[in-house]
């Protein structure tokens, strides 16, 4: 009788969501271990307008190949710390980094999930919540465990980005006719840096420095993430446009699912690349060195005599 009462007390004290809630990392791990081919439509609503893309995905045990129907000769292979962008057999860009030293503290939790159907398949939809705000809806395939659809939200509940499979074929994808990846030295992890250890709700997980003078730190809040770059060179912001965030002037560029901020300091260029929703931008940028015009003399010096100086402006 006493045992029964004790069990009843425990069940009453522990919230139901904690008893049945799924583990976000476990769900994501299962998804990344699966093999499949799919077409994914990405639709993002950004302050600078809509950013859309349709890409072809093919994943085998954690390695993901991305191609785009609009440019069949362009492909990205990524996974296990590597990234290679190939066009017509030629490597356009590649990078390789060592494994992360730390895992972020969990900030988000998912509910117990709701049974649903997606692409005619049994699926489960989870709501991901952090600080009482629903930040994402995730739909996983019940049989394959693959993340079929993810919608991320701004703090006000509006949709930031939706990534959804429009076709899905579970199982081992055909061999990808990929060119051999170039040999790229991994960036050395564990570099000391004066970049903040925390920015808003984001933790600095690790810092990298490579031979080209890049120093970059990777920040995550357990789901969203971004990298902050410091370089003695300036950053070409591409098709970015000027924007003022918290009285600071940046060049901002939104892509399908990611954002880039570029700015100049007296020591060189800085940039932020990440997938965080717009309502988090100001909080994060305010913790980083402010944009500063290097001045005519510094600009002149750099133009005449090159960069010089250190890649670590702090």
């Amino acid at each position: 009788m006493r045992r029964a009462i004790a069990l009843a007390v425990v069940l009453v004290v522990i919230p139901a969501s904690a008893v049945f809630a799924a583990d976000l990392d476990e769900l994501l791990d299962e998804s990344r271990e699966a093999s499949y081919t799919a077409e994914q439509a990405i639709t993002c609503s950004t302050p600078d307008g809509a950013r859309n893309a349709v890409i072809e995905l093919s994943q085998t045990s954690g390695e993901l190949h991305v191609g785009a129907p609009v440019a069949p000769d362009v492909e990205v292979a990524s996974g296990f710390g590597g990234w290679t962008l190939v066009r017509e057999g030629a490597v356009i860009s590649s990078a390789n980094v060592e494994a992360a030293a730390e895992e972020p503290e969990p900030r988000y939790s998912v509910d117990e999930g709701t049974a649903t159907e997606y692409l005619g398949r049994a699926a489960t939809m989870y709501r991901m919540t952090g600080d009482g705000v629903v930040r994402a809806e995730l739909v996983f395939d019940v049989e394959a465990g693959v993340l079929l659809r993810v919608v991320t939200f701004n703090a006000d509940g509006s949709v930031f980005c939706e990534r959804r499979f429009v076709t899905f074929d579970p199982g081992t994808p055909p061999d990808v006719d990929a060119e051999p990846a170039p040999s790229v030295e991994p960036a050395e992890g564990g570099v000391e840096s004066n970049l903040p250890e925390a920015l808003g709700n984001f933790e600095r997980l690790d810092v990298y420095q490579d031979e080209e003078g890049f120093v970059f730190a990777y920040y995550s809040d357990g789901f969203f993430s971004f990298a902050v770059f410091q370089t003695p060179a300036t950053v070409a912001a591409g098709s970015g446009s000027p924007v003022t965030i918290g009285e600071r002037a940046y060049i901002r560029s939104f892509g399908a699912g990611n954002v880039t901020y570029a700015w100049e300091t007296r020591s060189g260029g800085m940039a932020l690349v990440g997938d965080l929703p717009p309502d988090m931008h100001e909080d994060v940028l305010s913790g980083l060195p402010a944009p500063q015009d290097p001045g005519l003399l510094r600009r002149l010096w750099r133009n005449l005599f090159g960069q010089g100086g250190s890649a670590r402006p702090f």
Partner: protein, 137 residues
């Protein structure tokens, strides 16, 4: 001006010969009118000399500028002008020449993409999609 007036003016300017001066002084001793004219001319001349000296605006008489500017000052001007020209050329070169070597956005994307592939959320939710518009240009 009468001939006597011209003689008086030349006298005041120190342009007369000794014999002419003696002849004029003898005349002035007997001619009150010319003595008075001499006195008036002296008053006017002293009044003019008491006026402050003013510099001509530069360029008003180019020939005069070329003659009155001291050689030493002219050299300084040339050195300054040369330095200004050199500074201007450097400034224009700094502005016109392509800016410092810049890092392409794709370079940053590749590093972020590589690191993000180690993230627990990597996969369909966190795959960095290259900006194909830039790449295809």
């Amino acid at each position: 001006m009468s001939r006597a007036g011209e003689q008086i003016s030349a006298y005041l300017d120190g342009e007369l010969a000794r014999a002419e001066i003696e002849q004029l002084q003898a005349h002035l001793a007997t001619c009150g009118k010319c003595a008075g004219e001499l006195q008036e001319m002296q008053v006017v001349r002293s009044a003019v000399r008491s006026l402050p000296l003013l510099e001509l605006p530069p360029g008003l008489i180019p020939e005069a500028d070329a003659e009155v500017v001291p050689l030493r000052r002219n050299k300084g001007f040339l050195v300054g002008a040369a330095a200004a020209v050199v500074a201007l050329v450097i400034a224009i070169a700094a502005i016109v020449t392509p800016s410092t070597p810049s890092v392409a956005l794709e370079e940053l994307n590749s590093r972020y993409g590589a690191r993000a592939s180690l993230d627990p959320a990597f996969g369909p939710a966190k795959m960095v999609v290259p900006d194909l518009g830039d790449i295809l240009e």
